[in-house]
């Protein structure tokens, strides 16, 4: 009799373990049942990330909808949208005609805000320096190698440059910021156009790569003698200098939301795909650009529920209207009137199963 009792004592332990195991498995799934609320996933440009992170945080606080945006670079945003792994992509580089043609369905570009790509650098005292297009091109081509080069000194009288080497920092990932920057360089320098070209990722002749606008800014902040390109907000938020660039009319323009907005005062095509670098505006900053959110026009793909599409459209409307008030404090430019009208038309053209979502 005693032996029988001993054997049975073995069992309860096993039962308890099984119970603990099962509860671990069931817990996340029960959360699934509870949290039926729509969550949106986006990925892409690091350019607008400070703005988007603020926008989506307050959107969550006011509406409870979670928008998870990961800054993996514009190239990443486009790729993941094409792979159908995200609800929307973010990019400062609009898709080319060929890329759009290759996509399995029509992709829309909705402009969200304006931003300025600035030349930032790390020099003792961080003086405000001026640059001409040719000087910028030659620095990034590796032809100007030292800070105290004659060509830099002659456009910056009164500034004492140290006798140190220039270290170029560029992006190591596929970046819309790179696209805007190289688009500018290709326009102003024939040599750049022939040798390197423009794109989200190019074959850089010189320099170090860093990931994201955060990586570039982080590296420059800590490395004396470096120069690189980044978005205005990143430079200002980190108290880093931004160079004045000479625009088409020969004026040195300070990068700011105002000067970028002036550069954006140009006619936009109806799909808003346009670069505004080296713009014609007399007081416009030559390195500005839009940043877009990319979505599929027909939202009923891969069995997407109607609520998701509706929430996405509501989000886009909010981003182009009420959320615009977050742009200026973070050093982004609000959408000009023209761009906003075009954005509204585009958002209204988003359909679900053939029916427009927004009336």
């Amino acid at each position: 009799m005693k032996e029988q009792r001993k054997i049975h004592q073995d069992r309860p332990m096993g039962k308890h373990l099984v119970a603990i195991f099962l509860s671990f498995i069931l817990m996340p799934w029960s959360a699934l049942a509870v949290a039926k609320q729509v969550e949106l996933v986006g990925a892409g440009a690091t350019f607008p990330y400070p703005l988007y992170s603020k926008m989506f945080y307050s959107y969550w606080k006011t509406t409870g909808i979670k928008v998870n945006y990961q800054p993996i670079g514009s190239g990443g945003g486009i790729r993941q949208l094409i792979n159908l792994t995200v609800d929307f992509g973010g990019s400062d580089a609009f898709m080319s005609d060929e890329a759009l043609a290759k996509a399995q369905a029509k992709i829309l570009h909705i402009p969200i805000c304006l931003g300025a790509v600035v030349l930032t650098y790390n020099l003792p005292g961080n003086p405000e320096i001026k640059c001409t297009p040719n000087v910028v091109a030659d620095i990034f081509l590796g032809k100007i190698r030292r800070w105290n080069d004659k060509r830099i000194e002659e456009i910056n009288p009164g500034i004492k440059f140290p006798k140190i080497d220039i270290m170029v920092i560029h992006r190591s990932d596929g970046s819309g910021t790179t696209f805007v920057f190289t688009d500018y360089l290709a326009k102003v320098s024939k040599e750049w156009h022939g040798k390197v070209g423009s794109g989200k990722a190019v074959n850089w002749p010189v320099g170090l790569g860093a990931k994201g606008n955060t990586g570039v800014t982080g590296l420059i902040k800590h490395l004396p003698g470096t120069v690189g390109y980044t978005e205005l907000g990143y430079a200002l938020l980190n108290r880093m200098p931004a160079a004045l660039l000479m625009n088409k009319h020969g004026k040195f323009i300070t990068p700011s939301t105002a000067s970028v907005t002036r550069a954006a005062a140009v006619p936009l095509p109806s799909d808003t795909r346009l670069t505004i670098t080296n713009a014609d505006a007399p007081d416009g900053y030559p390195l500005g650009g839009f940043t877009w959110v990319l979505v599929y026009r027909e939202q009923a793909y891969k069995k997407r529920p109607m609520e998701k599409a509706t929430e996405l459209v509501k989000l886009l409307w909010w981003m182009t209207h009420e959320a615009q008030r977050y742009t200026e404090p973070l050093h982004y430019g609000q959408l000009p009137e023209q761009a906003r009208e075009k954005a509204e038309k585009i958002i209204k053209s988003i359909i679900y199963d053939g029916e427009p979502i927004l009336q």
Partner: protein, 306 residues
């Protein structure tokens, strides 16, 4: 017998038992099979997804230093050179240290508090996540390298091949040390004692008897450490400079196979771009495989000899 296991008739329990036996054996062998299947599936997936770039570039992929997403021309030479440079340099730097540790623990102080401290420390070194090494490397090692570069009059990036090799060497010490330690401890005591009885000093026994005997085993350990270094991603990505140009000195920035994948994978637009990155992954897989095989083969021969 009956009251120990069941109160049911013996015949029923035996057939049920037989069924349970067979099922159990099946489960065990299926698990082993599953791992084999998993590995094969991994290899095949890598192969299939690399085929666009394999077809487009063929062998020139290994020798071309062009990595141009704009014109869709890809070649992995830069990354090979970066990977090989950093890994070999890391091994070179770590070898004296790992050898010293393995001699210390394997021969001089096999037991006792000193040896257990060293053992714990070595294991802790291996336990620290790679991303934390990268973080530390970025904030501590890189400025040191940068100061060195300033003194030498070189472009003071700080990040680059040297910084990556230094961090890698710290991370690889535990792996090189552990295998070497085992092999050194495996050296049969009779030949060691023969040396001592002939009047050899400790140092002479170590350098003239133990090391040559354990030589191939130590080399195997080094090879395995090399395998680990080749695949190391995070710490290297954070301090290597991410520059797709062929490095011309150890102070240049560069890139490795693992770090280019980490940097560019999520955004590779275009089939050829993504497939080229996966092909690099395939190469990493095959190289790690080869090194593992060679290393284990050597170890097996050494332990058979002992």
């Amino acid at each position: 017998m009956a009251n120990l296991f069941s109160s049911k008739p013996k015949v029923l329990s035996r057939t049920r038992g037989l069924w349970a036996e067979a099922a159990f054996q099946k489960i065990l062998s299926i698990s082993a099979l599953a791992i084999l299947v998993l590995l094969t599936a991994i290899f095949l997936s890598l192969l299939i997804h690399s085929s666009p770039s394999l077809k487009a570039f063929g062998f020139t992929f290994f020798f071309s230093k062009t990595w141009d997403p704009v014109s869709s021309r890809f070649g992995a030479l830069v990354f090979f050179v970066g990977t090989l440079l950093t890994s070999f340099l890391a091994l070179l730097i770590c070898l004296p240290f790992s050898l010293a540790i393995s001699i210390f623990i394997g021969e001089y102080f096999r037991e006792g508090i000193l040896s257990s401290i060293l053992k714990q420390v070595t294991e802790l070194l291996a336990g620290i996540p790679s991303v934390i090494y990268g973080f530390w490397g970025l904030f501590v090692l890189v400025p040191i390298v940068r100061n060195l570069e300033i003194k030498l009059g070189i472009l003071p990036y700080g990040v680059g091949i040297l910084a990556a090799s230094l961090i890698l060497s710290v991370m690889v010490i535990p792996y090189a040390a552990s295998i070497s330690r085992e092999v050194i401890a495996l050296v049969p005591s009779d030949i060691k004692e023969a040396g001592y009885s002939l009047g050899a000093t400790r140092q002479e026994v170590v350098t003239k008897i133990i090391l040559p005997y354990a030589g191939s085993g130590i080399m195997a350990g080094t090879l395995l450490a090399l395998g680990r270094a080749l695949g190391e991603t995070m710490a290297v990505t954070m301090v290597i400079g991410n520059s797709n140009i062929l490095p011309h000195s150890i102070f240049s920035p560069g890139n490795t196979m693992a770090s280019v994948i980490a940097n560019e994978f999520t955004e590779a637009t275009g089939r050829l771009y993504l497939s080229s990155l996966i092909e690099i992954g395939l190469l990493l897989f095959l190289v790690a495989l080869a090194i593992n095989f060679i290393g284990r083969y050597i170890i097996k021969k050494v332990s058979i000899r002992a």
